[in-house]
Symmetry: C2
Subunit: 262 residues, 2 copies
């Protein structure tokens, strides 16, 4: 499982402040805390607080690279902001994200190819949020089609079924779990799968319990990667245990500690 830490995001007040003052200490501390907690990669998002994301994104990339060589997810809905980050990235990158819209795919697939970046394809389009599994699979097929046509490697594509908040779309959650399973069967080789976990509990409570229960089911559905808060220890313990149950780590009495050291 590729664990992407979600905490470098301008929607959090500490990161908003760091972006405002270009205070790299705050960012680097948050990066190292996430890595210590188990993050394999870091999501970088300037968020709505950023006055100038074209400057802030490359600044984030630079200051994060000073303390880690782990992969970076460049998170913006604006391809120019993503490109500004890609230009200064030495670490492996993943573009977060393209929608299933031709205009987006026409820009972001060539960009991902040029910079040898991974690409998250989120099954949503200008027409709105899909309402069921078939609509998600249709959008996924459209993304895969474009990716194949443009010669981008499918193994570097991360399909995101777009997780909806349980208090908004409770009847869609089971469908989303099945979609993860079906994304893996949609082509050979399979694309990777990813979710933004925290969405499930947006506006709901108890957030951590809902997050970790949903994550357990998503892992059982074959999820490859997840964007989450790695500092949520109970969540990380659950994730490690879910992978243990599916025989991805070997059991020993101290498996939680053993996995963390690894």
């Amino acid at each position: 499982m590729l664990i992407v830490g979600e905490l470098i995001n301008g929607m959090y007040s500490n990161i908003a402040l760091a972006l405002k003052n270009h205070d790299k200490k705050i960012v680097q501390t948050c990066v190292l805390e996430q890595i210590t907690s188990g993050a394999d990669a870091l999501d970088l998002c300037c968020g709505p607080a950023s006055q100038n994301p074209l400057i802030d994104m490359p600044w984030l990339v630079e200051v994060v690279q000073e303390v880690t060589d782990k992969p970076l997810c460049l998170d913006s809905s604006n391809p120019k902001v993503i490109q500004a980050g890609l230009k200064v990235a030495r670490n492996k990158t993943i573009i977060n994200s393209t929608t299933a819209d031709v205009e987006k795919l026409d820009i972001l697939i060539p960009l991902a190819k040029k910079y040898r970046s991974g690409l998250i394809g989120i099954t949503i389009s200008a027409k709105g949020i899909p309402q069921n599994k078939d609509q998600r699979l249709e959008l996924a097929a459209m993304i895969l089609n474009q990716v194949s046509e443009k010669g981008f490697p499918i193994a570097e594509l991360y399909l995101d079924p777009i997780v909806m908040p349980i208090n908004v779309a409770q009847n869609q959650i089971r469908d989303i779990l099945e979609t993860i399973l079906e994304f893996k069967m949609i082509s050979k080789p399979s694309p990777k799968t990813i979710i933004g976990l925290s969405n499930i509990s947006q506006g709901a409570r108890p957030r951590s319990l809902i997050n970790r229960t949903f994550l357990t089911m998503a892992v059982a559905s074959g999820l490859d990667s997840v964007i989450l808060d790695p500092k949520d220890k109970e969540l990380m313990d659950t994730l490690i245990t879910a992978e243990l149950i599916l025989n991805k780590n070997i059991y020993c009495d101290s498996y939680l500690e053993a996995y963390r050291k690894k």
Copy 2:
């Protein structure tokens, strides 16, 4: 989800003592605690401590019936002990359990019919513990066959895939989850499915974390009923949340409390 409380069992020292002295207060307190915590039914097992289970089992049934009318799982490998319990039961009963052996089925199916009891059929036989999904399904088919032949209603049959401890048979656990899913498709109408949850973490640790993570996956696989410790609050919270995610309870901010009151 039918939640069967597992705590009335002679392998626990308080119940062993209660059986020894026929101290009904201990048993009744434990029953009421389990019901308050969310148990829908009670497993009754004399266990190895009992000198005379033919007397102890009906005694357990009688004293439990004094405080609740919830269903009782009569848990013994000896059909005579089960029959002794059935004879005095006024509450709904479930026989726990028959194996996939003709000698057992020949006795327990007619007994279940006579007393209008449910019947747990565990996919194990005198030949030993099954090693994979196919062997489990084969034993399930054998049980179903006997049940149909003897005119016992399939909807009253609870198939148990026999959960193995993760520290003994880690590579079988995924198979067991898939078996639960396939048990539901093995006939129309479907049999019910049940597991003895605590087996998964027998001799392992941390027990509660392993139990609740496995249970979440089993619920997603379509599990109908589970024998567990309802006094494990984190486990029960996880179970309620797993059913919430699968849209079996309606979300509200106080869904945990709301479900418990129900």
